[in-house]
Subunit: 273 residues, 2 copies
């Protein structure tokens, strides 16, 4: 299996760096091929701007979707973006690893998404008709591949529980899981989340690293989060609203996009971390 | 009133640029003072890295919270970050304006948050004890100030409704509203969201701009989203979990952090846009 790590921590000697190295070593020992995009080490350009679209005539408005579509079609995207797209096509499994900063990805990783997910590649794929609304949410360029998050958080796990003051982690990650990974077609595995990461002691590190390695050994067998496929009949097209009869009292708006019949318990709480 | 716009679109001639100019003009006509942080125009550095902490000894690990705390205490943060902190202290109301990219802020704006919200300024403020868990979620450096999002989205409004395939907009914005704005103390006003922004016609633009200007005229009187204060008794400390008796069946995890008794209908759906 080909595994791509996209890594977003500024210090290779950090806890995140150690966890990454441990996970990668385990994957290689299993015989998998691993490539790493180390965003900080590579000096990744985080910001979408005119320089991303060299073919755009000076003085014209920068409409990002159109410029992205044209550059992708003309193979005129910048080499760094093309290289990342090639890695995504190569990979069977993609892992995004980052510290949770302000309840979201660090800017450098968000900029990887913003730039690499070009129109025609990450979105704007497939037929729009009265039967389907593009190849997205379960279909798309990444269909057949798996993805997973490795996240470190400073707060306590209870601060992120269902009633935790920081917001429920499962819902905080929904925009990434569903909106960034499921959207272009990935099957999304439950995340590996390490809480109180800044306070992890030397003596507790080995257990955390082993928990992560055990996830690396089940990448091919772990059940993905059972999100509903957009074009599978559950959503009205083109309103793209879940059919009213699939609403369930007591389920959060984000939770409605899970197909409960495919899940043991209708949530991500069967995750292995 | 002092109003700070933090603006995150790469093209000043965009719809976002036109809306911003219209809103700013209206605010000035009302007699308010307005300052603008135009992140793209100013070449904002999006990425947190060692260069942010010039006092950090070479070869030491970059632990971002500690480095941020030390640099803030020693007034050693970089001048661009200090300038933004000064603007935030100056402002009575802060407006973050951006196109929604991949269900979140553009990287450049996320990088503004990641860098400007230093430890001791945006977080790590106040006493941690068995009665309170820092000055956050309703208290903190920004207490007494208001904040509001102006967001453009490419999709249809129905794609972002409660059962919409993209996820419920109210919940998609929760990590920003609650996690980035309420956290350091802002009162958070309901957002102005413009859907199908890429397809807005010339003839429909004036109504959209007027709707935004009308929001600019009610910044001081609009009811904020009634988030619960962390240290007000609703959360168990230090678990920071909402007390079990405040759970309500049928309310989403994010929705639990609203104090329904302060809200007409327990949601943001009373928003004026």
């Amino acid at each position: 299996m080909n595994v791509l790590f996209v890594f977003a921590h500024p210090d290779p000697h950090s806890l995140n760096g150690a966890l990454r190295d441990s996970a990668v070593e385990d994957l290689k020992a299993q015989g998998h091929s691993v490539r790493i995009t180390d965003l900080y080490a590579e000096g990744w350009k985080a910001v979408v701007d005119r320089a991303d679209f060299p073919q755009l005539a000076p003085g014209t408005r920068l409409r990002v979707p159109q410029a992205s579509r044209d550059a992708f079609q003309e193979k005129a995207l910048t080499p760094d973006v093309q290289a990342e797209q090639e890695k995504l096509l190569w990979a069977d499994t993609v892992i995004l690893q980052f510290p949770l900063w302000w309840f979201a990805m660090p800017a450098i990783l968000k900029g990887w998404v913003d730039r690499v997910y070009a129109y025609g590649f990450g979105y704007g794929v497939g037929e729009h008709s009265d039967r389907r609304w593009g190849d997205r949410y379960g279909e798309g360029t990444m269909a057949g591949k798996r993805a997973m998050l490795i996240v470190t958080a400073g707060g306590w796990e209870s601060h992120y529980c269902r009633r935790g003051v920081n917001g429920f982690m499962e819902d905080l990650l929904f925009p990434i899981h569903h909106g960034i990974l499921f959207y272009p077609g990935f099957e999304v595995l439950p995340p590996f989340v390490l809480y109180e990461a800044d306070r992890l002691s030397e003596e507790n590190y080995p257990a955390a690293a082993e928990a992560l390695r055990s996830r690396m050994r089940t990448l091919e067998t772990t059940q993905p989060i059972p999100y509903r496929r957009q074009n599978g009949g559950d959503y009205d097209i083109p309103r793209m609203e879940l059919r009213a009869e699939l609403d369930r009292p007591g389920i959060s708006p984000f939770g409605l996009h899970l197909n409960e019949s495919e899940s043991r318990d209708g949530s991500m709480s069967n995750r292995a971390d």
